[in-house]
């Protein structure tokens, strides 16, 4: 024992007390003496020794009672008590230990034995002190962890569940503790008015499962707002998660792109349970199986963003859920299961499907109270005008932007095959402050012009096919084929913008390498917005739509050149 401690020696016998104090002092410790029980208790409170040597049999206050009171006075700290006694009293010895004594020392006092016992007990005392301080540290850490989890949950909620989930065409169920089950639900409109919805289920539990939700949400919202295609968003999400998540961690996900004008939904399912398209009539319930690996598993080269396209009538809807819902267990441990879900969806009316599922799963869970792993969303196809979710607001760089400028941008066949120029061009336009309020219209115009130029111009596809349900998938099949084998052609954008006294104008000209079409019937003055009825299937060149959005739309040459003008 290297450190010297303070020792209380309590014995009413002068001889014994003198002898013991000397032995202890010779060991290098400080001694405090007490002559009886009450004196011992007082001296203990005054000097707070680290060890007490206590005569078991003293006049007045019983040695055992003294020991009890000293232990109480010591509180949380461990102060060993060695009872001083004569060997013959076996019952007394047992009482010593039961009463709170930690050891006993017999008379005649043997300094070797006393030293050994002091070392052993001091070791215990130090261990006790270590454990107590570790316990305090753990309690502090625990309290801090709880606070951090609260803060993380707030951040998580604002990142992972924002967007337009409260739109009138979306109904959803998500746990307030989703941060601990790794589920994520994102929804946003893009500049064209499309609605993207992404549902994710990260592997694992707790904060580590949810941390991937932050970059995922950032990418989703950022790219959607800029007008990127769903496949691009998925690719980038996959790339990011593949980069940052450790091996064995990934995100099962599904994404849907609702186009309210064309009445289509494009879907991708990588690892989530079947998604369900719900319609009226024949083909009521169509499951969309997972055909891809979850996000984050493979690198960009092997990632497959191929989507399925489905036509929906107004009122039809898409339902998605994570496996937490299918694996919800009742009191007996039975799972809710996919069969039960399909039965409910098959039997219910479209409008009642969501509530039916929700009520059924709550009923199934019953008394278990384990409602924290249910993530469910239903998105309905409505008319564009009926949707109450706003289009993205633009956070462009500043109040000052270019006013008189021009830009020419041309894409050759290799680029046309793989690159979508719309977000980039949209970005250029949004740098002009006065155009920001018309961002949605501009993006829609750019999309229409580009798709016309590419599909009908360069690829030479006939839009007539898009009129029927079967023709629809045939059209997209032919488009994929044509795009894959494309080896010549171009699409060129020419922007010219200038400022006038009371306003300005932007001219967008798009030229493609195709054969054009007979545009003579479209050489009409601008159709007043009030007279323009949005074409229900929009499988033509969408000229009417263009004319409602722009101040003028004019075709040139053989129809492979078109100019749209905006004025303000």
């Amino acid at each position: 024992m290297t450190a010297s401690i303070r020792v209380l020696v309590a014995d009413d016998n002068r001889t014994d007390r003198l002898l013991l104090s000397t032995i202890v002092r010779k060991e290098g410790h400080h001694v405090v003496e007490a002559v009886d029980g009450l004196d011992a208790i007082e001296k203990f409170a005054d000097t707070r020794p680290q060890l007490v040597l206590l005569d078991a049999l003293m006049p007045g206050l019983d040695g055992f009672e003294v020991a009890r009171r000293i232990k109480v006075a010591a509180g949380d700290a461990f102060v060993p008590i060695i009872f001083l006694t004569s060997l013959t009293e076996a019952d007394e010895l047992a009482r010593c230990l039961v009463a709170g004594g930690d050891d006993f020392l017999s008379k005649p006092y043997n300094k070797v034995i006393l030293r050994a016992k002091m070392i052993a007990l001091d070791r215990m005392r130090q261990m006790h002190a270590t454990v107590a301080s570790q316990r305090d540290e753990i309690a502090q850490h625990h309290a801090r962890l709880l606070r951090e989890q609260e803060a993380a949950k707030d951040i998580f909620d604002s990142v992972a569940h924002s967007g337009c989930l409260n739109a009138n065409n979306i109904r959803h169920l998500i746990s307030p503790l989703a941060i601990f089950n790794g589920d994520v639900l994102l929804a946003a409109r893009n500049p064209s008015g499309n609605m993207f919805v992404l549902m994710g289920d990260f592997t694992g539990h707790g904060l580590t499962a949810s941390i991937g939700a932050m970059p995922l949400a950032e990418i989703f919202y950022g790219m959607t707002q800029k007008g990127f295609h769903m496949a691009d968003v998925l690719r980038e999400c996959n790339r990011k998660l593949h980069d940052i998540l450790p091996v064995g961690y990934f995100c099962c996900a599904a994404m849907a792109d609702f186009d309210f004008g064309k009445q289509t939904v494009e879907v991708w399912n990588g690892g989530l349970p079947d998604l369900y398209v719900m319609r009226d009539g024949i083909d009521r319930l169509v499951p969309i199986r997972s055909q891809h690996l979850p996000l984050g598993v493979v690198g960009t080269a092997r990632f497959d963003a191929a989507t399925q396209l489905h036509r929906l009538s107004y009122g039809d809807r898409l339902m998605m859920c994570t496996d937490g819902l299918l694996e919800a267990r009742d009191v007996s441990g039975a799972m809710f299961g996919a069969e039960r879900l399909v039965a409910i969806l098959s039997g219910a009316e479209r409008e009642a499907a969501f509530e039916s599922v929700r009520d059924a799963v709550y009923a199934h869970l019953g008394e278990t109270g384990r409602e924290d792993d249910l993530t469910l969303v239903e998105i309905s196809m409505l008319r564009e005008a009926e949707i109450d979710a706003p289009l993205p607001a633009y956070q462009a760089s500043g109040q000052v932007g270019p006013v008189d400028w021009s830009l020419e941008y041309e894409l050759g066949p290799s680029s046309l095959r793989i690159f979508n120029p719309l977000p980039l061009l949209q970005h250029v336009l949004m740098e002009v402050p006065v155009l920001r309020t018309r961002g949605g219209e501009l993006f829609t115009v750019l999309s229409e012009l580009y798709n016309n130029a590419l599909d009908h111009g360069v690829l030479g596809l006939d839009s007539v096919l898009k009129g029927s349900a079967s023709g629809f998938s045939e059209y997209y099949r032919r488009r994929s084929e044509a795009l894959e084998t494309l080896n010549h052609g171009f699409v060129r954008f020419e922007f010219v913008s200038c400022v006038a006294e009371a306003g300005g104008e932007l001219r967008i000209r798009v030229v493609d390498s195709g054969a054009g079409f007979d545009h003579s019937r479209y050489a009409q003055p601008k159709v007043a917005a009030a007279n323009a009825s949005p074409s229900p299937s929009l499988h033509g060149r969408g000229v009417r739509l263009l004319r409602t959005l722009c101040d003028s739309v004019t075709f040139f040459g053989c129809g492979n050149e078109v100019e749209a003008v905006f004025r303000w």
């Binding site: 001889t15 003198l18 002898l19």
Partner: protein
Amino acid sequence: MVGHETEHVDLDHLSGLRELMEDEFGLLIETFLDDGAQRIAELHGFVEDADALRRAAHALKGGASNIGATILARLCADLEMLAQQDDGSRRRPMVAAIECEFDAVRTALTRL
């Protein structure tokens, strides 16, 4: 020289004490003899009070064993047990024997 005194006090134990106490060895012996005389007086006084008698015998026993007076310690232990059995008749002879032994111890110690 092996004399009567050596049985009353363990000389090896005493030399250990002398080493331990150093300058205070004398004080220790003095304290014991003072204490001891007091305890003997108590024994006489408490001969009718079983509890007090027992405690006094116990106290003297402790001091005796610490100083190395093994016979004295044993006698005190006997009285301690006797006192509990409440046999009043044998107390006085016991106390006398203890006093006798204490005198012998005192003689041996003062001769050191």
